[in-house]
């Protein structure tokens, strides 16, 4: 049995039924599971909520503007930077909430818009390239493999079936490391795309918008998912389901702890099993 932590960490909703978590799985849940199972427990089982971080807000607003930009092409509307700026300004206010900016909000806002402008200049996507899909929720029923339903939202599928995921980053990413670290997500998207279309994707791309002082755009291409990558993903999903059944909510102390929002809960965690 898992101990409930009572430390006033924020509004605590009713713990999600484990059956619900076992029925569906997503790339973000799998990544959290891999990163730290105790973090998964706090976030998805106990549903502890924390204030939105500045970095998350930055990324959300950038995604919002990119979504509008992609939809504009999908709807065959002209590119108007003023309209996108309006979406950006509104999104920045709407999604702001109670963020601890530490006095850096004006700088962060300028940085976010600058990196978007850089992207619109440097993007490999031509103005008349019609997307195959923009921000679409899709799911893949993997019950024939004895696995849950995989769910996810595809940022963009370019013409010809190239899956794109947008990322914001503080540092210039290394290509190999970026593909390694985002492998689970890209493979999930490949499975979703193939299930939804009956076709193999023609490739995958990570589009990093790097918020350095001089903003950068880094495009990292990847081949279509190979069979061993799919097998590895399915093995991870098996581990996810089996681990949930066993209640494997153990902490994984390491470098990831530095940015973890559940640090205080983790330090009080007693192991969770009470005979």
């Amino acid at each position: 049995m898992i101990a409930i932590i009572e430390n006033g960490a924020g509004p605590v909703a009713e713990p999600a039924p484990m059956e619900k978590l076992k029925r569906t799985v997503s790339a973000s849940r799998l990544n959290c599971w891999l990163q730290c199972r105790l973090k998964f427990y706090f976030r998805y089982v106990l549903k502890l909520t924390k204030p939105k971080t500045a970095a998350l807000h930055f990324g959300s607003v950038v995604h919002l503007v990119l979504q509008q930009w992609n939809l504009t092409r999908w709807r065959r509307q002209p590119f108007e930077i003023a309209k996108l700026k309006q979406v950006f300004d509104t999104g920045w206010l709407d999604q702001g909430g109670a963020i601890d900016w530490d006095g850096e909000e004006p700088e962060q806002k300028i940085s976010a818009w600058n990196v978007l402008e850089k992207y619109f200049t440097d993007t490999p996507i031509k103005a008349d390239e019609m997307p195959e899909a923009v921000e679409v929720p899709v799911e893949a029923d993997l019950s024939r493999h004895g696995l849950p339903v995989l769910i996810g939202v595809l940022d963009l599928v370019r013409a010809g079936g190239r899956i794109v995921d947008f990322k914001t980053a503080a540092k210039t990413p290394d290509a190999d490391m970026a593909l390694h670290q985002n492998g689970v997500q890209l493979d999930c998207y490949s499975v979703l795309y193939r299930e939804a279309t009956g076709k193999r994707e023609s490739g995958r791309e990570l589009h990093h918008l790097v918020k350095t002082k001089v903003p950068k755009v880094v495009i990292t291409p990847a081949e279509p998912m190979l069979e061993y990558q799919r097998n590895r993903l399915f093995r991870l999903m098996e581990d996810y389901v089996n681990g949930l059944e066993r209640g494997d909510f153990i902490p994984a102390p390491g470098f990831g702890c530095m940015g973890c929002e559940f640090m205080s809960e983790c330090r009080k965690f007693d192991g969770g099993r009470h005979e």
């Binding site: 921000e135 929720p137 769910i151 279309t197």
Partner: protein, 159 residues
């Protein structure tokens, strides 16, 4: 007395996004722990044989529309698809119909929207394209949701 409990479970996929599963559990009492490996192997063989034999009976299957009585004997057999059947999932089809009906949208205009975006009619859209159309219809009818709530009710099931 030592009790050995063994369970064997199997789940297989079926046509029309169905699946079924069957599991059998047996308990056996052992006088000596040394008997465990042999008894475990015996139970495994018995359980697997039993599950494999029974799981071949597929039973009821929904037809292509998701609500009829399909062929319950064709293990792995795909039911015949109606000539004008939708290519997207049943949930997507129901959601497109629901939005169209509830907001009294002109079906010809919805079909034209599909033609404009994908070069094909609504019924011919695959699941990815249908998802895009649904997002567009939801936005047009003021029901668009933030990214992290896309799989939540009250939409007709997760997509």
């Amino acid at each position: 007395m030592i009790t050995l409990e063994a369970n064997y479970s199997k789940k297989i996929g079926l046509p029309g996004y169905s699946s079924h599963q069957f599991s059998v559990t047996l308990k056996s009492e052992l006088a000596d722990i040394a008997q465990a490996p042999a008894e475990s192997a015996r139970l495994y063989a018995v359980l697997q044989s039993s599950v494999d034999h029974n799981i071949q009976q597929v039973g009821y299957l929904p037809n292509a529309n998701g609500n009829g009585n399909g062929n319950g004997h064709g293990n792995g057999h795909t039911p015949p698809v109606e000539a004008d059947a939708w290519k997207c999932s049943d949930k997507q089809r129901d959601l497109i119909r629901k939005i169209t009906d509830e907001h009294k949208l002109d079906k010809a205009k919805v079909d034209q929207l599909a033609q404009d975006r994908f070069g094909k009619g609504v019924k011919s859209l695959n699941k990815l394209e249908a998802s895009g159309l649904i997002e567009e219809l939801l936005e047009q009818t003021g029901q668009s949701k933030p990214r992290n709530q896309r799989f939540s009710p009250p939409k007709v099931g997760g997509r």
